[in-house]
Symmetry: D2
Subunit: 296 residues, 4 copies
Amino acid sequence: MTVTNTFASAADDRVFRLVIACPDRVGLVAKVSNFLANYNGWITEASHHSDPSIGWFFMRNEIKASSLPFDIKGFVQAFQPIANEFDMQWRVEDSGVPKRVMLMASKESHCLADLLHRAHDGELPAEIIGVCSNHEDLRRMVEWYDIPFHYLPVRKETKQADFAKLNDLMAELQPDVTVLARYMQILPPELCQAFEGRVINIHHSFLPSFAGAKPYHQAYQRGVKLIGATCHYVTDLLDEGPIIDQDVIRVSHSHTIADLVRLGRDVEKAVLARGLRYHLEERVIIHENKTIVFHH
Amino acid sequence: MTVTNTFASAADDRVFRLVIACPDRVGLVAKVSNFLANYNGWITEASHHSDPSIGWFFMRNEIKASSLPFDIKGFVQAFQPIANEFDMQWRVEDSGVPKRVMLMASKESHCLADLLHRAHDGELPAEIIGVCSNHEDLRRMVEWYDIPFHYLPVRKETKQADFAKLNDLMAELQPDVTVLARYMQILPPELCQAFEGRVINIHHSFLPSFAGAKPYHQAYQRGVKLIGATCHYVTDLLDEGPIIDQDVIRVSHSHTIADLVRLGRDVEKAVLARGLRYHLEERVIIHENKTIVFHH
Amino acid sequence: MTVTNTFASAADDRVFRLVIACPDRVGLVAKVSNFLANYNGWITEASHHSDPSIGWFFMRNEIKASSLPFDIKGFVQAFQPIANEFDMQWRVEDSGVPKRVMLMASKESHCLADLLHRAHDGELPAEIIGVCSNHEDLRRMVEWYDIPFHYLPVRKETKQADFAKLNDLMAELQPDVTVLARYMQILPPELCQAFEGRVINIHHSFLPSFAGAKPYHQAYQRGVKLIGATCHYVTDLLDEGPIIDQDVIRVSHSHTIADLVRLGRDVEKAVLARGLRYHLEERVIIHENKTIVFHH
Amino acid sequence: MTVTNTFASAADDRVFRLVIACPDRVGLVAKVSNFLANYNGWITEASHHSDPSIGWFFMRNEIKASSLPFDIKGFVQAFQPIANEFDMQWRVEDSGVPKRVMLMASKESHCLADLLHRAHDGELPAEIIGVCSNHEDLRRMVEWYDIPFHYLPVRKETKQADFAKLNDLMAELQPDVTVLARYMQILPPELCQAFEGRVINIHHSFLPSFAGAKPYHQAYQRGVKLIGATCHYVTDLLDEGPIIDQDVIRVSHSHTIADLVRLGRDVEKAVLARGLRYHLEERVIIHENKTIVFHH
């Protein structure tokens, strides 16, 4: 069957991102490829991963939206029978609909400034719908970008109530993904569970080394020769969620803790921006406590 | 159609590597996937690359040999009609048949020793069929590995005759791939052309910087802060063939030329071993003067 | 001789940075060390480099300002006889006097935004005294930081007059160092010469590869597997000045030119910020067309 | 005082390596520099580190042996009064006397082969005085290099007696440094203490992550995106000794444990060779549980 596409203009460079995880079986790729070929779908990027140790198969396709005869809803309808047949966990997303991103920060500005600038520059395929902070320090920077700034203090004595407000804010804003850009507060387990797979954190160490507080101090004490940063999904187990990306930078005996903090900032920024980008482009599949990341 | 496989035992972990380059068309992936699915082929690794700037498509599949009902010859016969239909440049190779590798070296031993040890250790999927050198220095090392050592001196006055002997040797040994592991001689154009895409060189600079002779001296003079190495296919244009892999290492004002040479050796070894491995596993497709490298 | 310091308070953590280049001679280090010890100078960081190939010696000391009995002027007076005796090229700077930095940019914001944020964050020991651009695009960003924005268009027909205005501006502002943060215009030789060693450029390639225009396009055409950026001093020979720092990032066949541009931005930012920091902290000595960089 | 050197010929490029750690005091550098200058010592490399957090100072000088009027014994005699005055922990070594290195390995050959080849190639300033292994597998490789191979099995039931034999061997061979090149046995605390600061281990993880057994399995389970190796001094606390060097390599979801093992081997080799080289060149100072490494 070949279908003439009546939806999209030639200039349209949107893609549909089809992401699949399912038990491995012969014929899977053929089934999906046939589906796409039958609708004349033009595959612009394809990635597969087969994990024999657990018997699972993971797949991501980018298909030119303008080559297909339906919109996302139509795609879902058409594809659902195949998904059912193969017990797929799956999603398909339209690159033309930027994800709604909420950023959270505390007082340190480097990660926040980096993400805001990337989004402003058109580099991040995202709409920043708001910044939430437990301090007022970064308001002026955020508002320069015409992005709403939500001040939600978190105090020891009223923590539960404070986080209830955060919960309300998230319920209201409905972010697709929330980014802890050096937020420095531990989210309550309920929130972690409610937004599982949709909250990304940057931890300022090469996990699993130096989990918890003051990782640069720990690194200094241990005398490591590389320090790092880890971008991961938040779970209710502190600093133990699925890792999206990591990187390191070389340090030496001559660096003070202040130097480690300064050098680490650049790694944090880079790793968080990369990890978020992978998430936004639907390149990440969480499976158990690990990730498949189809970056190129 | 489903075919019961009568060829291979369950313990057989050989894969067939199917590598395809052709003009891009809708339905390509489906066609290949269907072919494999129809024969019950179990795809263990799949990589695609579509280059819209030139309208070409590149694909590599690893298929469990034991899942297919035919051997390589049977595969070729069965697949040829599809290849013809889509104007494919293609090949399929059996991982169980190690490639025949000829190594060439001069006096410096680091790359040669590294490759010999990797092969000996079972890390390189290759059979080293011989080492050819224009000096006797490395004979003892080679012979420890029970590998034939061919001494073919190359002298200014008799260069043409000397390379004719090399040509004879290659005609006799029939290597699948020849590796210039710091061979330090420029092969004549006829040889380059005759073995196009089958001779791999390691150049001791980050090409295109410092092509030609004495790259570490050039790097020192220029005062670069990183030095590198480049693994590439040999063509009749010196140091301009398709690049397979590159890497760099940080240097500083405190390093002498001798230090650059020493530090560079480690990069050369690593890059050459990696590039050769990609080639041996059929991960490289040469297209015009560039490579697609489906490493993971 | 021991002198009681009456200048500085205990809380003063300013350092004097003493930077020396001279022909190598026995007794040099002793002479300088004695000088500092006699005045009770507390050395907090010391770096030496001796280059036997040219017979030169290079040295950098950080001395706690509060440990010395004089200010910079006093230091210069006291040290000059030693400098004369050993034919030193030398300078001493007070870390408490931030360098005056002028930034120049064109339309692309990433390097400029990065440097402005670092300065704002207190990470760069510098006073940004102005931003000069040949376009208006970045005015709003600059003015948010309360930094004067100078719009100086550069047009083909009036280039000489346009650069005369730039010359006037620099004469007026008296920057200690000028940073071409992706300025995209070639400065006239007179300017390069007048500000030799005081204009820093970021070139978006791993020099000497891909000098000149459109380096990412050149890199794409050549099919390199790493792209880079180079921070260097500007001379009247385009892209050939002394290199301060370089770095690279891995790319593959799957990256378009747009991807290279995007990935390269992060390398450019990092390398420029690092190179500038080295310059600001008096860690760089230019000797002939190379640099000694005493980073730690 | 200037002394004419009557010891060494002009062609002599030996250096004396003077390594000092002591409480920080004004005048230290001057004292040492004067000492060297008075004897006409030609300093070819000098490195300082001052750690204000603990009030200690660390220093390493290379001095051309031929420029000094005494040999090592004479140096020690002449310098001892200064060392006493400043409470120095210090040593001075002659680069012309290669360190005696004992290597220990188990069955895996990559680290051992790498070090043997480097030593053979003249790259490591060391004399390999023997290889000790708890298996016979690597004998043939070792004996090709004309190096004594000591087979000392270590069995659960007789561990104490087995290690007593190792102790005897070390007492007999008197190595300056012992290298655990993937030895895979935990040395008894007495041995660790007896040879403190003189036994170097390569651990196949980026410590402190994945200390203990099977680090690549642990890394795979955690889903890290970089794996690493750590070269450190052995203490009686397993994998907790002072770190000399570390490095990492990028991995992804597509890598099996076998891939991690294979990729990790290259990092292990490189890090161990680097760390050992630093030790052999007297570039490492152990202070408490950390190292100062004056590499260049």
